[in-house]
């Protein structure tokens, strides 16, 4: 086996030369990001820096204007790519949860298993109950999203994404819409997931989580990656001036 094959096998996400514009607004200006299996990459930066757009490009919710995105060896930016099939291996958790309000928690977790993976109802619900247990919400299986707190909804949303047995999970400001006292439960679920070895890309404002859980921190500003490295370097001892001023504005208040 050549070195190159090993490289491709080891990397879950390969973003190369990524550009994205919304009309005349150039949001991403040449992003290179390579994530290995088992890494937890936290993407931080001021609002408008393009970090959410970058994450949404990784599963093609936003179509890149340039560059390539390879996830699990599939080139998503290639015209012939079956994006639906590729997405089953990429879990996504949204800031606004986006649970399906007309379905119970358990149905939310079961629906894609059945309609996309073709699992039986019994199989999908068994998996669903097991995942609800994992996020500590077994007793809420029959509750509708409207009957759950924000933190509970977000944990169901994580379980829903995990039900597809993804190889990588994307978290788009998963705790930003939550009341402060509910943030901890969701972060704990994410931390456990990281400890079990899940590959994760996490856009977050939680510097504590980034310091303690991330294997790598990426600081973005103005559509480019300004600085990246282990949290002990990027958060504790940032080299770039922009990183320093961002961190001092988030941490000192």
């Amino acid at each position: 086996m050549s070195n190159e094959t090993i490289l491709i096998d080891d990397y879950v996400v390969n973003v190369t030369g990524l550009n994205k514009s919304f009309g005349s607004n150039h949001v991403l200006r040449g992003i290179d990001l390579h994530v290995q299996r088992g890494e937890v990459v936290c993407i931080i930066g001021p609002s408008g820096s393009g970090k959410s757009t970058l994450l949404r490009c990784v599963n093609m919710l936003e179509k890149p204007t340039g560059g390539s995105i390879v996830v699990l060896g599939r080139e998503l930016t290639h015209i012939d790519c079956d994006i639906d099939e590729a997405r089953t291996k990429i879990g996504m958790v949204f800031q606004q949860f986006n649970l399906f309000p007309h379905m119970t928690a358990l149905e939310n977790i079961a629906v894609a298993q059945r309609k996309v993976l073709g699992r039986s109802k019994a199989e999908a619900e068994m998996k669903g109950l097991q995942l609800l247990g994992r996020v500590g919400l077994t007793e809420k299986a029959d509750a509708y999203p409207g009957q759950l707190s924000g933190g509970q909804q977000q944990r169901v949303a994580i379980a829903r994404a995990l039900a597809m047995d993804p190889d990588v999970m994307l978290f788009d400001e998963a705790t930003s819409a939550l009341d402060p006292e509910l943030v901890g439960d969701v972060l704990n679920v994410m931390k456990n997931l990281a400890e079990e070895g899940m590959t994760m890309l996490v856009v977050t404002h939680e510097m504590g989580f980034a310091s303690n859980v991330a294997t790598r921190v990426v600081f973005m500003d103005g559509g480019v990656i300004v600085e990246e490295g282990p949290p002990s370097q990027v958060i504790a001892a940032p080299k770039e001036e922009r990183t320093q001023s961002f961190l001092s504005s988030v941490l000192n208040h």
């Binding site: 949204f94 894609a112 309609k115 996309v116």
Partner: protein, 263 residues
Amino acid sequence: MALSKRQRAKYTRYAIYVLSVVAIVAMALLVDWTRLSNAMFKWEIVKKQFPDILTGAAKNTVIFTILGFAGGLSFGLLFALMRLSTIRPYRWLAATYIEIFRGIPLLVTLLALGFGIPIATGWNWPNPYLQGAIPLALVASAYMAETIRAGIEAVPKGQMEAARSLGMSYPRAMITIVIPQALRIIIPPLTNEFVLLIKDTSLISVLGVTQATKDLARFGRDGVNSTANATPLIVAGLVYLAMTLPLTQLVAYMERRAKAAGK
């Protein structure tokens, strides 16, 4: 004595009340009630309308309405999805269709399709119900397409994104996630469309009808001709009200409930 603005408004209101009551009483005294009720609500004629008005005419009105609604809903959904499509020719086609059928009076569409096509092509409608219901459904679908489109657009974008992120295709996500939520939003306006359709079926009789396919309005009109009395039309109007009032009340109830739930 100078009156404040509020007092002046109050006295004006009282004066209007008094004048209205006087006018109503005067009318009640002046009108020849016997003559009026003989001409417009003669009991023997009322009795003669039944049971045919229910077993024949009202039944036909319901058949036309249901055929028109079912066809309108199916085509309306199709055109709504085309309107929302990313493929431009689909959007143009749907927009053109909607504008044409909303812009032409139903009466003209009925005559053009019901009479015009057979005259122009020599092809005849195989069924008198379809001859009336299909033009009705085509017009209804144009209105319903806009209602359904608004309903689909009212479902938050995140729902589609979440469904797609789980690997669902666009049609699968539409069917399983978006349309069920959109339907809930549009049940009250769709019920209103249903009420409009009940009333619009009265135009179908311009196509000429057999005894068996007479709708309520035609039944009333024929009754007026044969009795030289307005009673049959009044009865037909009451039967229309018996169908439409429960539905409009239902819509009002659903809207109150939705408003309360939204708070």
